[in-house]
């Protein structure tokens, strides 16, 4: 359980050092993307059209923030993670197409994503669900917003963060998953609980 400070763009070499249960803090540029942004991004890619930002080595954050405009500058009010499993159907292709190195969310992701992380060199990092104020406090500046037509939660918010974290590495670039490890233990516990409650 080591602690690392990462600066974007993150190199593949730095990502390959990380292991499940490590704690990381990210400084630099991250952008939010939820279901509809993932879908649109992959459609653009398939149509040979460009993605609006250079995402090489950046972190993508599964988050639909609350944002408000102060003067002519956007300000992040609250920005905790959303459930990542909804993005499982897109993330392997997204990592391949856009070369993101860190995927930040909550709740974990499946084998398809873990395989892509192993192949291309990326990690999944869990941020505490609901801890939206802690997250927002690390945002230094909203650099821009794309696809605002999708609505505030689904738009692509690009921001500069300082020591965004603590993030727990929950899938590493060997494909190991903390959530799988917990699931195995929970399965063993299920049988004991059944016996205690008289469930046959």
């Amino acid at each position: 359980m080591a602690t690392y400070e990462l600066k974007t763009p993150v190199s593949e070499q730095d990502i390959r050092k990380l292991r499940v249960n490590d704690i990381i803090y990210v400084t630099g540029t991250i952008f939010t993307a939820r279901d509809e942004a993932h879908q649109r991004a992959l459609k653009l890619k398939a149509g040979g059209k460009p993605f609006p930002i250079n995402s090489n080595g950046l972190a993508v954050f599964h988050c639909g923030p609350i944002v408000r405009k102060v003067g002519d500058q956007w300000e992040i009010v609250a920005a905790g993670p959303t459930t990542s499993t909804r993005m499982d159907m897109f993330e392997d292709k997204f990592i391949e197409a856009f070369n993101v190195r860190v995927v930040i969310g909550k709740g974990g992701m499946g084998k398809r994503t873990a395989d892509a992380m192993k192949k291309y060199g990326a990690v999944y990092a869990a941020f505490t669900g609901g801890a939206a104020v802690l997250a927002a406090k690390t945002v230094r500046k909203v650099v821009g917003v794309e696809w605002f037509d999708l609505g505030m939660p689904e738009a692509l918010w690009i921001m500069e963060v300082e020591r965004f974290g603590p993030l727990i590495v929950a899938i590493d670039s060997t494909g190991a998953s903390l959530f799988d490890q917990v699931k195995t233990k929970v399965e063993q516990n299920r049988q004991k609980i059944y016996a205690d409650l008289g469930i046959s």
Binding site: T128, F179, R190
Partner: protein, 292 residues
């Protein structure tokens, strides 16, 4: 009392709900942190408690998912603004969305359009009870999507009875895993019918932490299920640990002889709620929070 006074009071309640976690929930989180043995789980609970503190200090929403607007209303038949109450609740929701701000969460399920103000078809959702007298009791209960997505209904056969209910609860909690942002609060509604048991399940999430059902037999099942869920090892945010649920609340209705309906409602740790009583004369008393 003017409609605008009531509107302001409802906006205030929504603000309290989303920015100031009720004391009983915060104390429950602190008590579970004391008992928690896993380092990662402790790290998560500490982050949660730090976040709760910051949200309260700065009056910022605890979680960016400020939920869909749900109201529980007990309104006296003599309450002066009875006939305009629905419109006031809708307008308060619009104002709160802009002023607090809340995340605009209501999406048209067919057109996929977001009106941007948390209203639209059946939103806000209002649970009405008409009572005697001239007072209005109002509870706001903004409910997030992550915990709502794992809510379940089981129409069990009566032969499976309570044991079937317990298995359904344990299996649902394990299947939900990390997704509802554990530690969660579980509301279990038993009996009535498909819609009734789910309605009871959700409503019982409003019960204060640690308060048991008045029927000792049901209270015992609540404690038994809570202890069992906390032996699953799912832990805060599904990263492993002893703290998977903060409480289990059960409510029952009589059932049809052929049915054994069980509704299961999940609430994330950010159990946001706020209540007030507004008298017919327009006096406003916030009952859920200590307000300066």
């Amino acid at each position: 009392m003017q409609a605008s006074d009531l509107e302001a009071a409802v906006v205030k309640l929504l603000r309290l709900a989303v920015t100031d976690l009720p004391q009983d929930v915060e104390k429950r989180l602190q008590a579970f942190l004391k008992k928690e043995s896993h380092p990662t789980a402790r790290n998560q609970l500490e982050a949660i408690l730090e976040n709760v503190k910051l949200a309260r200090e700065h009056s910022i929403p605890i979680c960016q998912d400020t939920g869909i607007p749900i109201f529980y209303i007990n309104v006296g038949s003599e309450f002066p603004l009875l006939s305009s109450l629905e419109g006031i609740l809708i307008e308060s929701t619009r104002r709160a969305t802009k002023e607090i701000p809340l995340r605009p969460n209501t999406v048209d399920p067919i057109a996929h359009k977001n009106p941007g103000d948390n209203t639209g078809y059946h939103m806000p959702w209002i649970n009405w009870s008409l009572v005697k007298g001239s007072d209005l009791q109002i509870t706001v209960f903004p409910k997030g999507g992550g915990s709502e997505n794992v809510c379940r209904l089981a129409m069990l056969t009566p032969g499976k009875g309570s044991v079937g209910m317990k298995q359904f609860v344990i299996d649902s909690v394990i299947d939900a895993g990390a997704n509802p942002c554990p530690p969660t609060i579980l509301g279990v509604g038993i009996g009535g019918g498909a819609d009734i048991c789910l309605k009871l399940a959700k409503e019982t999430l409003l019960r204060p932490m640690g308060e048991r059902h008045s029927n000792p037999e049901i209270a015992k099942i609540e404690e038994e299920l809570l202890a069992a869920i906390n032996r699953t090892g799912i832990g805060p945010m599904g990263l492993g640990g002893d703290t998977t649920a903060l409480d289990v609340h059960i409510e029952v209705a009589m059932r049809h002889p052929a049915s054994f309906p069980v509704g299961l409602a999940f609430q994330c740790w950010a159990a946001r709620r706020a209540s007030a009583t507004i008298t017919g004369k327009g006096e406003i008393k916030i009952t859920s929070h200590k307000v300066k």
